[in-house]
Amino acid sequence: MDRQLLTYLTNHAAILVFHLDSRGLIVGANSRARKLTGLDPVGKDFREVLVDFSGSFTLDDALADEKPRLLNFITSGGLPQTYTVRFTPADDGILAIGELDQDEIEDLRKSMLRLNNEMANLTRELQKKNIELNKLNELKNHFLGMAAHDLRSPLSIVETYSDFLTEELSSQLGEEHLNFLTIIKSTSSFMRGLIDNLLDISMIESGKLDLDRSVQDPCMLIRKNIGLNAVLAARKQIAIALDVRNAIPELSLDADRIIQVMNNLISNAVKFSPQGGAVAVTISHEGGRVTVSVSDNGPGIPREEQRKLFQPFGRTSVKAAGGEKSTGLGLLIARKIINAHGGEMSLESEPGRGSVFSFSLPVRHNEHAGGTQ
């Protein structure tokens, strides 16, 4: 019976049994020891199946003080596993018998359960907060849209009448009063631009930017845009050059929105260029994409500030050459419009060497045609 019990324990109990010779070479191992280490340990030095970086374990010490040792074994799964090992002299060598610490396993199980519970509860709270934040964001966009819409109409009236008065009364008013009217007009124009941008942002953030696509010649849109900015450029004696690099295909796009993007890039280039500077617009077709680049010889933008440009109200330390105002929303809107067309926008700039803003649109427009974002 003793022998049967011994055989059972050796083969089935959750213990490791290594039979070592007097030099510490493994001459036998039970099935669990072989399974754990994932190798045939017979013939190896016992220390070879251990992860003992410090080299502090010696068989002689373990036999001398007869105290159990915490030893880490190499395992087939890669993660070392710790066993409490007792060393006992036997008739034909040494028996090394390893056991797992059941109390430690139970502690670990409880810890895992507790951590899992905590993580699940934190995830619940996090998701609840996220949904609340989304609701607040929607509310903010709704409010923004309503407020901007309600402000736009009276402001347009101020702008129109100040324009009317400037034209009608220019011969009757003194220089100071005419100047007042000019300030009213330019300020109301700026405010209307800001409100238009806020409406755009509100629409984009709410996912309601609907593209009214049609097939368009991008070169024609650029020429139209250069014309729109000609007065502004002429005031600063800036020449806007157009370079059409190769044959440009027609694209399916929302003409008004792309004109808005081009206008933003070209008017920015003019604003940030010095008196008598140069702005160049190039358009090319390559690799299934049409790319439009607008370059200026303005002051350039430090690399660490470039990301700010595409964030809401993100302004850099660079000032417009003529002190022109900016809402800080234009480039963000421009990038969202380009993204909605399935395109990308980029910037290359270096202080003292000007800036190049580019956007590229896919030629296989039908993939995106009619898209809504």
Partner: protein, 213 residues
Amino acid sequence: MIPGETYEKFLSRLLSGDRAACVSITDALLKQGADVREIYVDLFQKSLYRVGELWENNRISVSVEHMATSIIESLFTLVYPVIFSAEHTGKKAVVSCVANEFHQVGGKMVADIFELNGWDGYFLGANVPREEMLRFIDEKKPDVLGLSLSIYSQMKTLIDVMESVRSVFPRLDMIIGGQAFRWGGRELVARISGTTYIESLEVLEKMIKGNTR
């Protein structure tokens, strides 16, 4: 109603630890427009009860039971966008497990049903010490306290906690439920005033709707 075939497939994947398959089944049901209550009751709760039975009958180990519970708990995140989107009524419920009660899924489902009906359903978690629970109740001043118990051997702890709550908050309504009550104990909790035993999530929802109106 969740089709029986879907439930059987879900349970089989759950017991084999196939989280991805369970996510896929739940996700498909949501996309097909299944009501989150049905997913909670006919899929999650039914599976959890079955897992509990298998464990009680020594058909699966405690590790498999914990794994299955963890998988289901992780699936809650799929339905949270619906659960937490209800219009808020301004009412609050605090739901908790008592000290040494580590089975929290049932309690969390109760808190979620409150959320689904526009209440703020605060869930304190498993193994919550009495003092911490009392402090939280004092801070949030809920309309209802829910206590969940899964293991019958913790019944005395539950009763002690309920008595403490009653002495500190004499008017606070308490609802009690959980798998522990299959083995008895309803008469014990009934002795404490202002206490209602809730036998299922459906009964809970009816109670909430009655209370809200």
